[in-house]
């Protein structure tokens, strides 16, 4: 028996796909962990302004969002084209912010309440009047930690 038998020519060895599920599962878990389901239906158009000195929002579960902007085209017939406030899934007025904050607080445990942040996602074309009103309501509701939502980019254009 010779040790140096010539191998049969021609047949390329097939790549084993046994580890394919493992790779796919790894990707799957990655996306499962990083995914954030969009829980609110946007009724308004929001294009947040750009800024450079931005900080990341930590602890997303402790963030409540206030959206401000023009209603989307399909809602403009009923709600007009003036900037409106959206809380959760519905249009709201400024006076509803206090009860919204109270409801958000009730949903969290007591020790988490001081860490809660309110993120204001407002459109670039919104005027400051409505933002000032929101800020006043937040002060009344004692929700002092706020965050003006922005994208990364230059403000000097």
């Amino acid at each position: 028996m010779s040790k140096f038998v010539k191998k049969k020519k021609g047949d390329t060895p097939g790549i084993s796909t046994a580890s394919l599920p493992d790779i796919v599962f790894m990707l799957l878990f990655f996306f499962m962990v990083t995914t954030v389901m969009r829980e609110t239906d946007m009724l308004i158009q929001v294009k947040v302004p750009e800024a450079t000195e931005i900080q990341k929002l930590e602890r997303k579960s402790l963030v409540s969002y206030i959206y401000v902007g023009k209603p989307k085209d399909k809602y403009q017939a009923t709600f007009g084209s003036e900037p409106r406030i959206q809380l959760n899934d519905a249009f709201a007025s400024v006076s509803e912010i206090q009860s919204f904050i109270a409801a958000e607080r009730d949903a969290r445990s007591e020790e988490e309440v001081p860490l809660m942040t309110t993120s204001i996602k407002a459109d670039v074309d919104v005027k400051m009047g409505i933002i000032t009103d929101i800020k006043q309501e937040l002060r009344k509701a004692q929700a002092f930690k706020i965050n003006y939502s922005t994208r990364k980019g230059s403000v000097l254009d």
Partner: protein
């Protein structure tokens, strides 16, 4: 007739990859990778009752920034463009008129702020100011503080502010505490 010993039948795992792919594609489609970021600010509490005499601040320790309804800036009584706001805010904060801030490199102009601890930036906007401009002004003012802190970190420790330990960061924040005051909104003046 002796039966052959039967092993436990193996489950065919060939379709496992298909199932995993299906789930993977679902999560790929539904995922939103937006990292929420923004300018963090703290609102002042509503004063319970107004003090009889408002706290006495020297005019030179105030850096007054006004933004009108046409998005124009008035800084310390002079019209200014947004590009210059950052550098003039830095000059004001770093001025160190009374010499108590040993880490400052300011010009020590007696007509400007005493020291960074006393220096307050006052921001007032109109109801007609656009949100974009407001965020831009807030951003430039925050940038002035961040640049001063960064420069101090480089001078004292030879490292970037972000690379310092939390204790050293706190020390540098103590030299340049961020004091941006926003005027109470006026009821009139639409």
């Amino acid at each position: 007739m002796a039966r052959k010993k039967r092993g436990v039948p193996e489950i065919n795992a060939g379709s496992m990859a298909d199932i995993a792919f299906l789930l993977l594609i679902f999560f790929l489609v539904t995922t939103t990778m937006d990292v929420d970021s923004g300018l963090a600010r703290k609102l002042p509490p509503i004063p319970e009752d107004l003090p009889e005499t408002p706290p006495q601040l020297k005019e030179k320790n105030l850096f007054i920034v006004l933004v009108n309804a046409f998005d124009q800036l008035l800084v310390e009584g002079e019209p200014m463009s947004l590009e210059n706001l950052r550098s003039s805010a830095k000059d004001f904060l770093d001025n160190n008129g009374d010499g108590t801030c040993t880490d400052c490199r300011g010009r020590r102009d007696p007509a400007s702020s005493d020291n960074p601890d006393k220096a307050i930036i006052s921001l007032q906007n109109d109801r007609g100011t656009s949100y974009e401009m407001y965020v831009a002004v807030q951003n430039e003012l925050a940038a002035a503080y961040n640049e001063l802190r960064e420069e101090l970190a480089q001078r004292k420790h030879g490292k970037s502010y972000d690379e310092l330990t939390p204790a050293l960061q706190k020390e540098i924040r103590g030299v340049y505490p961020q004091k941006i005051s926003e005027a109470e909104p006026k009821e009139t003046g639409e």
